[in-house]
Symmetry: C5
Amino acid sequence: MTQLLVIGLTLLWLIGSSWVSDAQAVADREKLLSDPGIYGTFAVFALDEEWGKQEPSVRIARLAALKGVVEQHREHVAIDLYLLRGLSDQADLLFRIHAVELRDTQEFLLDLSSSQFGKHLKTAGMMHGLTKKPNYAPGFPEQIKADLKTVSEPGEKPYAIVIPIQKSAEWWGLGQEKRAAMMQEHTEATLPYLKTVKRKLYHSSGLDDLDFITYFETSKLEDFHSLVLSLENVKEFQYTRQFGNPTLLGTVQSLDEIIETLAQ
Amino acid sequence: MTQLLVIGLTLLWLIGSSWVSDAQAVADREKLLSDPGIYGTFAVFALDEEWGKQEPSVRIARLAALKGVVEQHREHVAIDLYLLRGLSDQADLLFRIHAVELRDTQEFLLDLSSSQFGKHLKTAGMMHGLTKKPNYAPGFPEQIKADLKTVSEPGEKPYAIVIPIQKSAEWWGLGQEKRAAMMQEHTEATLPYLKTVKRKLYHSSGLDDLDFITYFETSKLEDFHSLVLSLENVKEFQYTRQFGNPTLLGTVQSLDEIIETLAQ
Amino acid sequence: MTQLLVIGLTLLWLIGSSWVSDAQAVADREKLLSDPGIYGTFAVFALDEEWGKQEPSVRIARLAALKGVVEQHREHVAIDLYLLRGLSDQADLLFRIHAVELRDTQEFLLDLSSSQFGKHLKTAGMMHGLTKKPNYAPGFPEQIKADLKTVSEPGEKPYAIVIPIQKSAEWWGLGQEKRAAMMQEHTEATLPYLKTVKRKLYHSSGLDDLDFITYFETSKLEDFHSLVLSLENVKEFQYTRQFGNPTLLGTVQSLDEIIETLAQ
Amino acid sequence: MTQLLVIGLTLLWLIGSSWVSDAQAVADREKLLSDPGIYGTFAVFALDEEWGKQEPSVRIARLAALKGVVEQHREHVAIDLYLLRGLSDQADLLFRIHAVELRDTQEFLLDLSSSQFGKHLKTAGMMHGLTKKPNYAPGFPEQIKADLKTVSEPGEKPYAIVIPIQKSAEWWGLGQEKRAAMMQEHTEATLPYLKTVKRKLYHSSGLDDLDFITYFETSKLEDFHSLVLSLENVKEFQYTRQFGNPTLLGTVQSLDEIIETLAQ
Amino acid sequence: MTQLLVIGLTLLWLIGSSWVSDAQAVADREKLLSDPGIYGTFAVFALDEEWGKQEPSVRIARLAALKGVVEQHREHVAIDLYLLRGLSDQADLLFRIHAVELRDTQEFLLDLSSSQFGKHLKTAGMMHGLTKKPNYAPGFPEQIKADLKTVSEPGEKPYAIVIPIQKSAEWWGLGQEKRAAMMQEHTEATLPYLKTVKRKLYHSSGLDDLDFITYFETSKLEDFHSLVLSLENVKEFQYTRQFGNPTLLGTVQSLDEIIETLAQ
């Protein structure tokens, strides 16, 4: 009982404490999350079979190592965490990392993997993409451009979905003009969902075996489902070779929430 | 011998006991199983190699943990259990979970996986779908609409089959009218089996790598086989990219029956 | 030396002994193997890495458990055994089980997996099919119908081959008449091999991810190879999406022969 | 030091010794390697993780078991060995076995797997094919027939390559005449390489999930590469569904060379 | 503390020391990296789960074994190392090996795998290709030939990308002339990136399940991404069956840098 109390207090202290000044980190984070020319990495991990067999005190010590590594690298890279366990197959955690250089991301992941916590992680997937200025939007009618400025409703968006996409070779052979026309239809289909489904696009060609990584946040999964149905109905969808496979569905979590969940 | 007796009595007590009031749970369960806008999750698990090597008394203690987690969450989510072992490859158990929010399902599965029983579970698959009002039925001829009201024969339906489905991009490109015509033919093919094969449909697009999850219950597997053959013969089947893969075949079991089987 | 003698004698006794009356079992077995409306299950297993490391006496004790489970269920289900080890990849044993209800098959496989022997088995595949009266044969010319009555030559047929088959969606869309014409050509191609290659067909649609399971026995593998070549040359083969994958090749073995081989 | 000396001497003795008379075996071997109607099996194995952790003396004892099993079966089957480790993914050893009956091959592989050495082997692949008289060559022009009699240059051919092949359903539907014309073009493309690349063909349809196994030996890998390029350029290649996957590349080794390499 | 100091000093000494004369090795290395008729092997490895659990002193001893094997073979083969961990899924290290004979590469990899370090390596992939004089360039217009002589900018190129490629059967059936025209368009698309993206091509047909291995080095990943996008837009891309799968992305590292990273 006393031991459990000590563990509980340690966990509370662990969740509360923070090793770096947050002000600077937050400023950089905003730029990393909104600028073009930033590399986004989706690192998917499964916890090994040993994790569940550890004593609570051991688990908390290892989660402190996770916290340490994340805090230490937050000065250079923006790190978001998602809990996949209970919603996706065979993966438990997703790290989304934004960095100016992929080497910075690699350094974070190397430190993570050599940490006491990292020894329990098995890499289940790794995707990289680049943020870029919109390709086709500049040529869209003014009304669509205006509609695209719709800001998503404030409030928490607890669900995150990642859908990797590869276009067919035929798509790339269509030429810019035909692709732009289809992308306009695609964009129109998304307009009704701008308020409740937040989106972000990463360009992947050459960085991994994808063309795009699409990232979504929502509090209304049914709206997200309707959005995907709408996208399946437009002509551009015929030129999609891979859509998902895997689709990653998880919940957005703070580092402290993840620690609390995994400590159990 | 005395030890076996103790274990047997513990098992009997375990199967008999129940920690929550059933009345409220049952009421919610009816709504969760019949309303549109409900999320259905199919969580497929394999028992690890350690399970078979545990002492009976240890196994029963862990099955008590399973019972505890299921009973605790039954207030918020509807949980059905199926035994796949002996009928499907490499998976042993299927949980079908209905919830108003997928977060509630995630919480149940997180508690399950961190329980003493969950440490023996390896996730073999995870599928999510949404229940919706019929898409095409409102436009069908009156006779079909009337036929569709056929209630399945009472009595136990021991077999359950889950078939995940992904339509081709071509299907989505056909337009609503052509799809409705084909779905009418599809529906007509199912009418002769309404009495002996119970069906339920979940819409998945965007929630995982499927478009639909089809769920069946029957006591006459031969009728179910004939139903599938009929569906393979209609035009709509040409637009199916994935049908099964995996097809999950199991037997419907109560929590107590599962516990009894796994205790052996 | 004395220990080896004891083990040898135990093995001899194990192979000789039998716990159930054989007469009734054999009678049922004939019906299960020839009637339509019977479910055939092909359960494929690999032995785990621990098996080879067990002491001979331990192995024999576990093989006694195998014998016990098989004998106990032979009253309800017909069980055939095949040795795949040394001829197929990554699987060692094949059980072919015929039953009136798949629940009976599940019960046998559950008892097998919870037995001391079953703890060493990893499921590598599971296929189910239904025996049915011939679909197309009633419309064939009289000569073919007569030829089809050819009985296969007596004598042992040591090799067994299982080829799972899935037809293309196009096949099902052809309509019954066109399919019947092609099946006649298919059947004619098989006539020269009726004497040396024994065949049995199972219908799978909906029970797993197949349409058919084809089962063959022969003492002349070269004839079987020529038969498959002939079938590849007929038009119906163009409508086959999956042929094999896996093809299972093994030798027909009695329970005692299997026990003797695995005891080594 | 003394222990190492003992191990070294044991290894030398092991490599030198031979338990069966070679004369008869060699005679049979010639027939098995040149006659039609012979079954060729390609059994691919990976060494388990335990192998590298064994003491040298233990490894040598187990390699003696390998030698024993191979020598014992060489009277009935022709056994060739290849070292894949360092050239192919995830497989270390390839056994090519020629036998009059696949049962003899199975018996060898059963004895191998139950030997002290076999406990370290994991089956990574198993392919079977039948040697047959040439299908199309009898109808070729006399010049090609004459050219085909070119004997490959004497001298060691250290590299061996195995390429499994499956033809498309379309190929089999072409009819014998069209296939023969294309095979003539295919054969002409191979003529420049007859001197430096030795070839052998096995027919697989029905025995596994292939139509052919093609086996090559060469001392000039660049010539072999050019030969494959030439074959990719002929029309018949358009009708190939599987070419490789896996392509196995290794070095031809005597049993003693394999033992010496694996003893380290 | 003292122990850590000793380990640190050992690591420093390990990184500094070198067992062979570098001058000769470097000379051969230049030829191996620029001549046609050289075999390039890409050997991809994952570290096993034991690696992370070793004491630092044990790890350093095993990394000394790695250094020893690499230094010993550098006289015969050119060895480049890349760190994939943190950027690619499920693989940690990539060795690129150039040799006059693949047997020399095999000997290096055999020594590596039987070393104390190699016991921790699991082979995740193995690709072989041959360097050849340009196929199509001799027929290109003079301007392109001149442009192709552009030397890449000096300075470190920290990122390396390996993309395996398989062309469709249709590509090989086009004939040399049509292929040359398309390859000219392909080449033109690459010209703007010659300064910032270094490229090297390996011909694989027959040596593994690929036609080409393309290797890239760059300090500007965004330029590399744009290059791949340009290549996806030319007609030749329509004849590509496999592009990546896997795409390997890593950082170029010296042996000492790898040792330093893995020692942590």
